[in-house]
Symmetry: C2
Subunit: 233 residues, 2 copies
C-alpha cells in the first residue's frame, strides 16, 4: 500500500505530495468518485494522516484545483513575437494537452455539481478565464478593451471550454483539427463584430497585417472564399 521508500517528510513536502496524488486521481475520474481512503492509499499514508494535513476532501480538492489552475494559466503565456495566428495555435495545443491529461476531472469541474460547485472552485475557474483574457488583450496590444472586444474575447474563451468538453465526450474529432478550428473561430467571431464596429475593424486589420501567407488566418480566408463560391456542377 505504500509508494516507494517510506521516510519522514516535512509538513510542506507532505502537503505538496498529497496535492499531487489527489490531482492525479481527481483528473482521471469524477471527483465525486474519489475517496480519501484512496488518496491515502495512493500516497502511502493512513487516512487520519491525510486529515492531519487537510480538514476534508473539499479542501484537498480545492488545493489540487489550485495547482491545476496555476498550471493551466501558465500555458497561456506565449512570447509576444511572430504572427498572432501561430501564437494562438501554440496556446491551443498546450490547452488541449492539459485537457487531455485531466479529462474526466476537467469535465466534472466544468459541468458543475455538488462536489465541485463551491464558491472557491468557481473563483478558481474564473481566475483562469481572467488569465486567458488578460493574455489575449496583451497580444492584441490593447490596454482597456472596449465592450465589444471584451465580449468577443470572453465569449471565445467560453467557446474554447465548450469545444473541449464536447471533444472529451467521445473524442470523435481529432484534437489537432479542433486546435486549428478554434484559432479560426476567434478570427471569425472577431470579424463578425468588426463588421459592425469601426474601432474593432481597424484593430483586426492591424493584427492581420503581420500574418504570413501560410498561417492559420490566411488559410481560413482562402477556405471561406472557396466556400462562398458557387458549388461545382
Amino acid at each position: 500500500m505504500t509508494t516507494g521508500v517510506r521516510r519522514r517528510m516535512g509538513v510542506e513536502e507532505r502537503r505538496q505530495q498529497l496535492i499531487g496524488v489527489a490531482l492525479e486521481l481527481f483528473s482521471r475520474r469524477s471527483p465525486d468518485e474519489v475517496s480519501i481512503d484512496e488518496i491515502a492509499s495512493a500516497a502511502g499514508i493512513s487516512r487520519p494522516l491525510v486529515y492531519h494535513y487537510f480538514p476534508g476532501k473539499l479542501s484537498l480538492y480545492e488545493a489540487a484545483l489550485q495547482r491545476a489552475a496555476d498550471d493551466l494559466a501558465s500555458r497561456f503565456v506565449e512570447p509576444r513575437e511572430g504572427p498572432l495566428g501561430a501564437r494562438l495555435l501554440r496556446v491551443m495545443r498546450r490547452f488541449f494537452d492539459f485537457v487531455d491529461d485531466h479529462g474526466p476531472g476537467f469535465s466534472a469541474l466544468m459541468r458543475g455539481g455538488p462536489a465541485v460547485g463551491s464558491s472557491k472552485t468557481n473563483a478558481l475557474v474564473d481566475a483562469v478565464r481572467q488569465a486567458a483574457y488578460v493574455q489575449i488583450l496583451a497580444h492584441l496590444k490593447v490596454e482597456n478593451a472596449p465592450a465589444r472586444l471584451e465580449l468577443v474575447v470572453r465569449s471565445w474563451i467560453s467557446l474554447v471550454e465548450s469545444t473541449a468538453l464536447i471533444w472529451l465526450d467521445g473524442r470523435r474529432i481529432p484534437r489537432g483539427e479542433l486546435e486549428v478550428q478554434l484559432v479560426h473561430d476567434f478570427a471569425a467571431l472577431a470579424a463578425v463584430s468588426a463588421a459592425r464596429d469601426e474601432e474593432l475593424g481597424a484593430l483586426l486589420r492591424g493584427a492581420l497585417q503581420g500574418e504570413p501567407g501560410d498561417g492559420p488566418f490566411t488559410d481560413l480566408a482562402v477556405r471561406l472564399i472557396a466556400l462562398a463560391a458557387p458549388p461545382k456542377a
Copy 2:
C-alpha cells in the same frame, strides 16, 4: 403581509402559486439571497405552510427552475418556414426577452455555486440546451448530425449563454445588436467548420440558398467582404 383576497386554495393550485411567487423572487435576485420567509410573505401564507408544500428551499427552487426551463424551451419553437436567418433571429429575440426578465437568477444559475449546483438543476439546464439543439437540427432538416455539425451547434449554444451572461454584467451593448450578432456568429462558426468539411459545406450552401438579399446572413456576407477590403487611405 397578504396579497389580495385570502381564500382556500387546492393543493395543486397553492403549489403553482408558490412556484410562481418563488420564480419571481429567484429571478430578480441571486437565489442565495432569497429566504423562505420572504417567499411565504410574498405568497401571503405562513412559513410552516410553505414547508407543507415544499420540504425546503432547494425543492422550491428546483420547481421554479423547472417552470422557467419549460418557458425557455418553448421559446425555441419556431415555425419551419421562411429564411433560416430570420427564424434564428426571432428565437434570439425571445431568448433575450427571457434573459431580460430573469437576469440575476439566470446569472446565478449559469455561474454555478452552492445554492444552484445540484445535480437536478444541472440536469434541467442540460435539458434546455438539448431542446435548443434538437430545434436547430430540425430547422436544418438533419436527423443524425455528424460530429462536426453537432460541435458547431452545441458550441454555438454555449456561445449564446456566455454572450447573455456578459451582456447582463453591465448591459454595455444594446441587446438588439447582440441578437443579430449571435445569428451572424452561427453562420461564421458553421462556415469555419464547413471550410474543412465537404458534407457541412453542402449543408450550409443548401441552407443559405433560401436567404433573401436583405436577411441577416446576406448582411453578414456583405459586411465581411467590406472588412476584407483594404482600408481607405
